[in-house]
């Protein structure tokens, strides 16, 4: 039988197609939409709230049946969300929520839990003490803030002997590289490094190589490096031993679940308003598991 979504138009304002995780998410939603017979248009938010606001307004002119919105910075899309509500177009949200407004369903990855999982991993690798570098994402990004909160809460509650030094790398490998190098110059005693995404790990690894501190997992002097996302490149690094672990999210389940909520909404079934997708820790042992999204996409 045809899906209730058949023939419906879906406008998907994406976070930005410059990010591997997002590209995978978008591709998956696209594939599902095609299966359900929806007409989908994807807008590339380019990681910029102003662009997204403009896109949202432009999309409203086109009167689609469904809007799927993944805000870069939800607070800044408050005004846009209000307009969508006024236009009475059902809104589905991913990853970030504005302070007010209405939406049918919200799916997100549990970033706080992700931060906590990272803290556990760090503690496990360091024996619960030492100086840990946290390479964080952009100030003002909701994801980064939740990861930060989860990590620090967990550390404070369970591993008080660990000191955290936060480096403001704004999601980019370039920044992560210089900041890491300089953090080591300041004090070469580093027990572990955790970065808010896998992209920044590229900078971290490059920094370690530059200062001659890059030892593979298992070798003497190895500094545990933990990423976030579970991108193919991250998994590859785990296989090679330049990265120790990764906090995996799952774009596939996030995409599938939000499309399922759309189906529920239009067929009158109960809709799960908030869905939190839990992190999966990836280590060398399970790096080849076909469940890891990074193994499902081939780059």
């Amino acid at each position: 039988a045809d899906s209730v979504l058949k023939g419906k138009t879906l406008a998907y304002i994406a976070f930005g197609l410059q990010y591997e995780y997002q590209v995978t998410l978008v591709d998956h939603v696209r594939k599902l939409a095609a299966e359900k017979g929806m007409k989908i248009s994807v807008y590339d938010g380019k990681g910029d709230a102003s662009t997204q606001t403009t896109q949202l307004l432009d999309v409203l002119s086109k009167q689609p049946d469904i809007i799927l919105l993944n805000p870069v910075d939800a607070k800044l899309l408050q005004g846009g969300v209000r307009k969508a509500n006024e236009a009475k177009i059902p809104l589905f949200m991913l990853e970030n929520l504005p302070p007010e407004g209405e939406w049918v369903a919200y799916n997100t990855f549990d970033d706080v839990a992700g931060g906590r999982a990272a803290a556990d991993a760090v503690a496990k690798l360091t024996g619960g003490k030492g100086r840990v570098l946290e390479v964080r994402g952009a100030i003002g990004s909701g994801q980064s803030q939740k990861r930060y909160d989860g990590f620090h809460q967990q550390m404070k509650e369970k591993y008080p002997d660990i000191t955290i030094e936060t480096l403001k790398a704004e999601w980019t490998a370039d920044n992560a590289q210089t900041l890491t190098v300089d953090a080591f110059t300041r004090d070469p005693n580093v027990a572990a490094i955790w970065a808010h995404n896998d992209e920044m790990i590229r900078g971290v690894v490059s920094a370690l190589r530059q200062i001659n501190r890059l030892e593979l997992v298992g070798e003497k002097g190895h500094i545990p490096v933990i990423g976030f996302d579970g991108t193919p490149l991250g998994l590859q690094r785990i296989r090679e031993g330049t990265q120790t672990a990764d906090v995996g999210q799952d774009p596939f389940s996030m995409g599938s679940s939000i499309v399922k909520e759309m189906e529920n909404h239009f067929s009158g079934k109960p809709v799960e308003k908030n869905t939190l997708i839990q992190p999966v820790m990836i280590w060398k042992e399970n790096v080849n598991s076909p469940d890891n999204w990074g193994n499902k996409v081939k780059s």
């Binding site: 197609l17 807008y43 307004l57 002119s61 910075d73």
Partner: protein, 355 residues
């Protein structure tokens, strides 16, 4: 037709009549300068109306203009600075600083919204003053001076807001955003009012003329007794004020004091201003055609969104459209210029010799 007549009459004794005719023709050329960009816009608009049925709707045009207001307001200030051969990179940072102050002073310090607005505007003017003094007194190149304040102001905005965006905003921001005057969104009306004031200041006041003189030939301006340093400082202060006003607009639009917004806005603004015919070397340009540059960039963005160009191809398409628009405009100007030169010289050499 008229031109032919002018040629004939310029044979008359004093050549006065010929010059009169030329004067009329010159303002016609000025008109063409703006109309040229308008032509590019209309042409593009016509193509778009065929490609996308929703393009030519009031709703869509209103959206485009409304989205363009923030860049437009900042661009008005930037125009003053570029006219004096400066450049202001700090605009986006001043904008976010103004935005977080306008909300934060109410949220954190419990001040009244009016005071918040006033302090936000004052901060913009103050940073403009610092930029201006750094450029004129310390003689730091404008690019470097405003790069420094750009970094500093953004830092201050993050520090003050704690790195996040501040919400909710005072009620009147929301009301203002929703307000309409004669059916036109108030933000658009405000922008137009600011543009008209700026254009009048530039074209009809001695301060405005001093701006053009200072940018067109600073030495000549100084020798003529114009206080060029003061003019430059004022231009930067105006840019600061306009950016601060844009900060309030962005607060209204996003309903938050936004520390993270407007990344890279300075380049977009400078691009719009230059496409709008303001010379980076100073002394040339006007608000009217400058605004057409802003609108053109807004339309390109809108077209790309409406046509749902595949992700990342949109960048390619906008780049091509910008290049095409710019070269069309340049082509038109050269064409016009060549035509004009021939006419001027023809009139001149036909004049009766005086002994």
């Amino acid at each position: 037709m008229t031109m032919e007549n002018t040629q004939a009459s310029s044979l008359a004794p004093a050549g006065q009549a010929g010059l009169q005719g030329l004067r009329g023709r010159l303002s016609f050329i000025d008109l063409m300068q703006s109309v040229g960009l308008l032509g590019v816009i209309l042409l593009g608009g016509a193509v778009m109306s065929v490609l996308s049925p929703v393009f030519a709707t009031t709703r869509n045009i209103e959206n485009v203009l409304q989205s363009a207001t923030i860049i437009a307001v900042v661009a008005i200030g930037q125009t003053f600075v570029i006219l004096v051969a400066g450049i202001d990179l700090s605009v986006a940072s001043v904008l976010v600083l103004s935005s977080v102050l306008s909300v934060g002073l109410v949220q954190f310090q419990g001040l009244s919204p009016e005071i918040g607005v006033v302090v936000a505007l004052a901060a913009g003017v103050g940073i403009g003053l610092i930029n201006g003094l750094a450029v004129t007194k310390l003689r730091i190149p404008a690019l470097i001076a405003t790069l420094a304040t750009m970094t500093i102001a953004r830092g201050l905005a993050y520090i003050y807001s704690g790195g996040t965006n501040i919400a909710p905003v005072p009620r009147f921001f929301v009301d203002f955003q929703a307000a309409r005057i004669l059916g036109i969104p108030a933000v658009i009306v405000l922008t137009l009012v600011l543009a008209v004031i700026a254009q009048i200041v530039l074209s009809r006041t001695s301060f405005g003329r001093s701006i053009y003189a200072t940018g067109g030939n600073p030495l000549a301006a100084r020798l003529a007794g114009i206080k060029t340093e003061r003019v430059i400082v004022l231009a930067f202060m105006i840019s600061g004020l306009m950016s601060a006003i844009a900060g309030l607009l962005i607060t209204a639009r996003f309903e938050a004091g936004a520390a993270t917004a407007a990344q890279g806005l300075e380049l977009a603004v400078i691009a719009a201003v230059v496409i709008g015919g303001v010379s980076l070397f100073g002394g040339e340009g006007n608000i009217g055609s400058m605004l057409l540059g802003v609108v053109l960039l807004g339309l390109v963005q809108n077209a790309v969104n409406l046509l749902n160009v595949p992700p990342n191809w949109d960048s390619v398409v906008s780049g091509l459209v910008i290049a095409a628009a710019a070269s069309l405009d340049v082509y038109r100007r050269n064409y016009l210029e060549a035509g004009m030169r021939r006419k001027v010289i023809a009139t001149k050499s036909a004049r009766t010799p005086k002994t």
